[in-house]
Symmetry: C2
DNA sequence: TATTGTTATACTCTATAACTATA
DNA sequence: TATAGTTATAGAGTATAACAATA
């Protein structure tokens, strides 16, 4: 629903052939946003198989890696606000995938856990992610995929992005329309 | 605001070193979504310099390439519904950047044009995009940027993405939360 | 009868801040 | 006094369908 690229001449050029001053085709930055949005969208579509939304996948990932975490800490790990987690965890708990256990000493705090059913769902999510990866990058050889990963990783690092944390659209400006 | 990556072992591996069965680090697909979202977010932030939102940039791009287009056709080109354009064009027209001229023969239709001021704004957008590109890819050499572009272009093509059309999050599933 | 631009409405998502119960 | 989880509310953004004017 966004569209930003401007650079008519560049868009007609193919990757390799640089006739003029500036390198790159439609702008690697635009391609990045375009393909990235597509990737997220496809992943979200696949998750519906398991009746999940992307936000759920994040919760599963963290809970799987860090059992007994509190909602507060989970919110921090996800880069979101605690109040947003309430409905999300409510839903997963109602579906028997997540458990809110009492904290040992602090009665205000919950210790969140994946149930056995939740762990099984985590397996499904992993499978979905694997298939997603394969389909998305079907155009590239294994070696090229590794090259792409390497380049993206360096960009992510230089830009200060955190490992495994998807910022989403930070809504810094105003909207995301059209 | 999303978070999807799951693959703990992979996340600890650096690009090159594949100890085991599967290639890629945190998954090129996840990196793509992560970096892509970051790119879009940064671009949106830069656009505020010119009091614009990403949706505006799309309109400028199309109007610049295809003057006298109708709102209907513009909506199609942007992959959105006509009703969404009304407020957007209203705003740009009120700011003296876009003009709604009468169609020659069809009195229902407008012919949209960039004003001189609008053309100047288009220049600013181009400058912003150029700076955005440079900052985003500062970690890579010119050659590496070209490689990245090439790989992304092939992925985009194989996935059926249209040149210069940013799909945004298609909201196929339900939400984008957390 | 179909189409252009417009408006109105209803719905989703989210951020904020208030609230309770503990500490 | 501060913190964990919760609730309520208000705002932004969008999709849908209905509308008047014109074809």
């Amino acid at each position: 629903m966004i569209l930003l690229c401007n650079n008519k001449e560049a868009m007609k050029r193919k990757p390799g052939e640089d006739g003029g001053s500036k390198p790159k085709g439609p702008g690697a930055a635009f391609l990045l946003a375009q393909v990235g949005a597509h990737a997220a969208s496809r992943f979200a579509a696949r998750l519906t198989e398991a009746d999940l939304v992307p936000a759920n996948a994040g919760i599963f990932r963290i809970l799987s890696a860090t059992p007994a975490i509190s909602q507060q800490a989970l919110a921090t790990a996800l880069g979101t606000v605690p109040s947003r987690l309430v409905a999300l965890v409510d839903d997963l708990e109602a579906r028997g995938l997540v458990e809110r256990r009492a904290h040992e000493t602090d009665r205000r705090t919950y210790a969140l856990h994946l149930t056995d059913k939740g762990k099984a769902t985590m397996e499904i999510i992993s499978k979905i992610a694997r298939e997603h990866r394969q389909d998305l990058l079907a155009a590239l050889s294994e070696e090229e995929q590794a090259t792409l990963s390497g380049l993206l990783q360096r960009v992510a690092e230089q830009q200060g992005l955190l490992w495994g944390v998807h910022p989403g659209y930070a809504r810094i400006g105003q909207s995301d329309k059209t």
